[in-house]
Each structure stands twice: as structure tokens, then as C-alpha cells.
């Protein structure tokens, strides 16, 4: 996604702020915001989405400890890396200011630049971990697939999603939907542990969409079958006894009319570079989404493996 990742530099002299700004001037992914330590200005500039906040200690009129306290109060659970840049050894060794890292002023701007990029990369990856399943998200999925393609390794991309998940959520609420997602994540873990290798990757796109990146097609179908079997045989646990007996739930559609939905099922689609050549990850996703849409058309839990060697229909 191409929205800018922000760095804030707090500096009353602005020479350091300018230095950092210039260093990122050519970077389209990153925006550097500068502010003095004046409370009013800072209050307006402190946004929820900073990745790193640098405080130029040498050019600061305010007391560092008080300033950090103010920043923390305002950030309120949002947690950028907070780094004070100082030439004072005593300040850098200080342990009285919680939550702040220190960098020596002598560090070259090139190193600071590189370090900021590394830190932003790591924070992005950590943000992309799903908070329900604790599985890595889109950032990691894309990086893993891209890494495999660059190194010329075999892969099988498996897409898993739940059919009729939205009506289920509307009816049973977010709490039960969360339990269901955690259950599916557990099924994926167990199926991969049983049939796969410890180098296989499990990711969570979001909502009810999951991805596996497997290293070999030899065991991919066994994993898919195991997932469906485990899911289908346990799914009634997530319905009330009444609804299990009826075999469906009734949910209001947008017109206020009741629609009937049977039990949730799984759609699984697979594509692999063992059957087709892909130049980019986008080509893989495109073919994958095509296979997934086809799987979605079939009612009940289904696994669709795209093993044809023909170009994907557009």
C-alpha cells in the first residue's frame, strides 16, 4: 500500500530536522515531519501513525524527561520508536526516562537513514501480525512469496476462506466469530505440522482469509484435505443447539428481509510454480484469485488445485 510512513523530528533549532528531512527527500514511502518542542505545535503535529520520533536533545529548549512524558500521554497506546539524539554521554546513560532509546550525535546521517529504514521495516512487519490469530499478515505473506520467487524455490500458494462468514458474524457477533477464526488458525497449524515441513508458512490475510505457502506440492493436497475434514467435523460446535437442529440461520439482509444461510464451509484454492511460470507475485495472486472464485461457486467445503499448465483465463 502506498501511503507514507511518517517520522517526526522534534528540534528547536531545526538544523537536525532539516538534515533528516533532506536525507529522506527522495524517498516516496517516507515523510519527515518536523516540530519544535512548543506544546501547541507539538500537540497539532503528533499524529497517531508515526513510526519513529527523533528528539534532538542538543537543540532542545525543553527538559527531555518532561517532553517525553508529554509525548507519551498524547500518544496514548500508540507506540513509535522514541529516540533521543544527543552528544552528551551522561544523558545517553540516563535511566530515568522510560521508553526512550539513545543515539550518539556523532552517528552519520547515512547510518541514521539506514537504521530508520530497518526499524520501519521491522515495525511494519510486527504491525501486520493479526491480533486474533497471532499469525503474520499481508506484509509477511508478500515478502515470503517474493523471497521464494527470487531464490527460484518451489512453492505452493494455498488460499483458504470461510463461506458465509459475514452472515455468521452478523448473527453470532464478533466474539464468536473471533473464536471461530482462532479455531481455523489452530486447524491450519495442526494440518501443516502433521503433513508439511517446519519451513512452511502460515499467514492471515485478515478476516476469514488465510494463506499457506508450502514448499512442495507432494503434501499440499493432504494438508488441504485434512483442513477440510477437521473444519467440517467440528463446525457445529460454533452453532447453538437450536440452529444445529434447524441446519440454517436466518439473517436480515440490507432490505430488512430474512435470508437463510446453511452452515459455514471452507473454500480452498491452490496454485504452484510446479505447473506454471510466474514472473511476479501479482501474477500468482491473480491466478490464485481466479481459482478461488471458481472454488467459491461450488457449494460445500471444497479444495481446488490449479494444476493445469495452461495460461490462466483472463
Amino acid at each position: 500500500m502506498t501511503y507514507k510512513k511518517r517520522i517526526l523530528v522534534i528540534d528547536d533549532t531545526n538544523d537536525y530536522g532539516l538534515l533528516v528531512s533532506n536525507s529522506f527527500a527522495a524517498d516516496e514511502q517516507i515523510e519527515v515531519v518536523t516540530s519544535t518542542s512548543a506544546r501547541n505545535e507539538l500537540r497539532n503535529k503528533l499524529r497517531y501513525d508515526f513510526y519513529i520520533i527523533y528528539i534532538h536533545h542538543d537543540g532542545l529548549r525543553a527538559d527531555l524527561g518532561v517532553l517525553v512524558k508529554f509525548v507519551y500521554r498524547f500518544l496514548n497506546h500508540m507506540n513509535p520508536m522514541l529516540i533521543a539524539i544527543t552528544s552528551s554521554h551522561e544523558v545517553a546513560m540516563s535511566t530515568t526516562i522510560p521508553g526512550v532509546g539513545f543515539l550518539p550525535k556523532s552517528l552519520s546521517i547515512e547510518v541514521l537513514h539506514k537504521q530508520a529504514l530497518n526499524a520501519i521495516g521491522i515495525l511494519s512487519a510486527n504491525r501486520s501480525i493479526n491480533d486474533v490469530s497471532h499469525l503474520p499478515g499481508n506484509y509477511a505473506i508478500d515478502a515470503t512469496l517474493r523471497g521464494k520467487m527470487e531464490r527460484g524455490e518451489k512453492f505452493v500458494l494455498v488460499y483458504i476462506d470461510i463461506d458465509k462468514f459475514k452472515p455468521y458474524t452478523d448473527y453470532y457477533g464478533l466474539y464468536n466469530a473471533g473464536r471461530l477464526i482462532a479455531f481455523l488458525a489452530d486447524v491450519l497449524h495442526k494440518a501443516v505440522a502433521r503433513h508439511g515441513s517446519n519451513r512452511d508458512f502460515i499467514g492471515h490475510v485478515g478476516g476469514d482469509d488465510f494463506v499457506l505457502i508450502l514448499n512442495d506440492y507432494d503434501y499440499a493436497e493432504a494438508i488441504g484435505n485434512e483442513i477440510i475434514e477437521q473444519f467440517d467435523s467440528n463446525v457445529s460446535r460454533f452453532y447453538s443447539a437450536d440452529d444445529v437442529e434447524k441446519g440454517y440461520i436466518e439473517v436480515l439482509n440490507r432490505k430488512g428481509i430474512k435470508d437463510r444461510f446453511g452452515f459455514i464451509t471452507l473454500s480452498i484454492a491452490m496454485v504452484s510454480n510446479e505447473f506454471n511460470t510466474f514472473a511476479t507475485t501479482d501474477e500468482v495472486y491473480k491466478r490464485m484469485m481466479f481459482a478461488k472464485d471458481e472454488a467459491k461457486q461450488i457449494s460445500g467445503s471444497v479444495m481446488l488445485c490449479d494444476t493445469s499448465r495452461t495460461p490462466a483465463a483472463q
Partner: protein, 311 residues
């Protein structure tokens, strides 16, 4: 409570490991593991759950650049920060050495307490970023639940606003994920600006996921003002996210769950408010269920709506 957070020290000398192990000896939340730099040792001692990898640069058997590249390839995505520890004599902080994903270089001559402080700080930052939404940067479900519980336990008055979009799913499918994300970023900004304008500095905005957001307000008398402001800002700009033709029609032709083409109106916003007394009389999941019911009612009303129960 939870399993200790693991710091792995890659150290062929053992001196750095010994000092770090001692440094965290009294801390049950953090555990320090030693490994050598050979392939076999790394395979046995590294896991995806590690919070930090510290490389002892001094006396390292492997070549640092190769080692870091291997660590990077092991899990192509990097959630684990790498710290290089060095003596002053080894100038590791040159540009070409700052390879991904090294986030920090520290001197082994650091004061031990400052060192512990520095490392704990990095672990805290990493951990709290896991609870943020990757798109909006706002805190997600774990923080929302924690914050809500704090408010309930605090016993004071508060309001929780549940904010979501009408017709977002269809918009997202019709215009694509990229455009959908732009709308979510737009909504994030609106919520934030409304809070800045009318709320308290300590008010809270969380991102449940997708187009669902939660605000927790300390002062309940500003609910209407904030709600109205959010709706006004949203309705004023949302048409800019559509093609001219769709704006003129006032709808898009999208597929519904059954695969039929259905006319889907321009997006609007629904806000449902629950107050402290609900949370003081019902368990949290019951309050949520009740809220879902109000939300359904709000969805039946065309256009943006603020449901401000009881008050």
C-alpha cells in the same frame, strides 16, 4: 502469566551472553538464550517467536554480513530486530554494515543498567506494535479490550462509540482494495480530527479491523458533538472516492452474497453509542450483542446515522 520473551544471543565468545544473562537474571518476563553462529546451532536455537537477536560482533566466527543475510532469508519477513554489540575498536556503524534488519548497534562498554533499559525499551516497542493495525496505525482488539476493561474497572462515566461504514464491502470489491484502504485512512483521519477538536487528549480510538472502529470518550457530554462532526466530515467528502458517473447515479452496481447484481448506495456511516452503565450491569459480550442489535437497526436507516442510546 505468559511465556517469557526470548532474547537470542549469537555469541561464539560467550562473554556477552554471560553479562546479558546476569543482567536479566531477576526478570521473569525475559529469558536469554545462547547460540553459536554455525548453521546447525542457529537452526536449533532460533524460532519465529524470538523477540530479539543480539550478535556479539567481537570474536564472531561467521562473517557478519553473511550471517545477517542468512537470518533474513530464514524468515523473509523480519519481525525480530537484530542488535549488533561491538567494542569501540570495531567500527560496525558504517553505512554498508547497516544491513537489513539491524536496528541498533550498541557498545559493549555501555553501563549495564542503561543497556538493560535500552533492550527492554526495544522489546516493549516491538511488542506494542504487534497490537497496532498495519493500515491505520491505530491500536487493535487487544488494546481496545484492555482499555475498555480499565474504563469499566475505573468506575467512572464513559461512552463507547462503535463506528462502521454502510456499503463498504461492496465498494471494496467494486473499486478494489487499494481504493478501499484509502477510504479507511480517510475515516481514520476524520475520527482523529473529531477527537482533537472536541475530545480530551486521553480519549481513545481503536481499529477493530476492516471498516469497524471504536472510540472511548472520557466526557460523555461531547458524544453528540463528536458524532455529528464525524458524520458531517464523512458525508462532505465521501463522493470524492467515487467516479463521477457513480456519484451522478448515486449508486454502484455490485454483486450481493447470492451473486445477483444489486444497486448499492454511496457509503454512509453508522455510529452506535453505549454508556458506562451498560457495562456496569452486563458482561462485555452481552453489551456487544446488544450493540450489534442497535447496529442492525442503524443499518436499516438509509444514510449516516448516530444512535445515542438513553441520553
Amino acid at each position: 502469566m505468559s511465556t517469557p520473551k526470548n532474547i537470542v544471543v549469537i555469541d561464539d565468545n560467550g562473554d556477552l551472553y554471560a553479562s546479558l544473562d546476569q543482567l536479566f537474571a531477576g526478570n521473569t518476563g525475559i529469558q536469554v538464550t545462547l547460540t553459536g553462529s554455525s548453521d546447525d546451532e542457529l537452526r536449533d536455537n532460533l524460532s519465529l517467536e524470538d523477540y530479539m537477536i543480539i550478535i556479539n560482533y567481537t570474536g564472531l566466527k561467521a562473517e557478519i554480513r553473511q550471517l545477517v543475510t542468512d537470518l533474513y532469508n530464514r524468515n523473509s519477513y523480519c519481525i525480530t530486530p537484530i542488535i549488533v554489540a561491538t567494542d569501540e575498536a570495531y567500527p560496525v556503524t558504517t553505512e554498508q554494515q547497516m544491513i537489513v534488519p539491524i536496528v541498533s548497534v550498541l557498545r559493549k562498554t555501555y553501563d549495564p543498567i542503561a543497556l538493560r533499559h535500552h533492550l527492554t525499551n526495544i522489546i516493549d516497542t516491538i511488542e506494542s506494535n504487534r497490537d497496532l493495525n498495519a493500515l491505520s496505525g491505530l491500536p487493535g482488539n487487544n488494546v481496545i479490550n484492555r482499555r475498555l476493561q480499565e474504563c469499566i474497572d475505573g468506575g467512572r462515566d464513559f461512552a463507547m462509540m462503535y463506528i462502521d461504514l454502510d456499503n463498504f464491502k461492496e465498494y471494496n470489491e467494486y473499486y478494489g482494495f487499494y481504493q478501499g484502504d484509502q477510504v479507511l485512512l480517510f475515516l481514520t483521519r476524520i475520527l482523529y480530527e473529531a477527537m482533537l477538536a472536541c475530545g480530551a487528549d486521553t480519549d481513545f480510538i481503536g481499529h477493530v479491523g476492516g471498516d469497524d472502529f471504536i472510540m472511548i470518550l472520557e466526557h460523555t457530554d461531547v458524544v453528540k458533538e463528536i458524532g455529528d462532526r464525524i458524520i458531517a466530515s464523512f458525508d462532505a467528502k465521501i463522493r470524492e472516492f467515487y467516479h463521477d458517473e457513480d456519484v451522478k447515479n448515486g449508486y454502484i452496481d455490485a454483486r450481493n452474497r447470492k451473486g445477483e447484481i444489486e444497486r448499492i448506495n454511496i457509503m454512509s456511516i453508522s455510529i452506535v453509542t453505549m454508556y458506562a452503565e451498560e457495562f456496569h450491569t452486563l458482561p462485555v459480550d452481552e453489551v456487544y450483542k446488544k450493540m450489534m442489535y442497535y447496529k442492525k437497526q442503524a443499518k436499516l436507516v438509509r444514510g449516516s446515522v448516530l444512535i445515542d442510546n438513553n441520553r
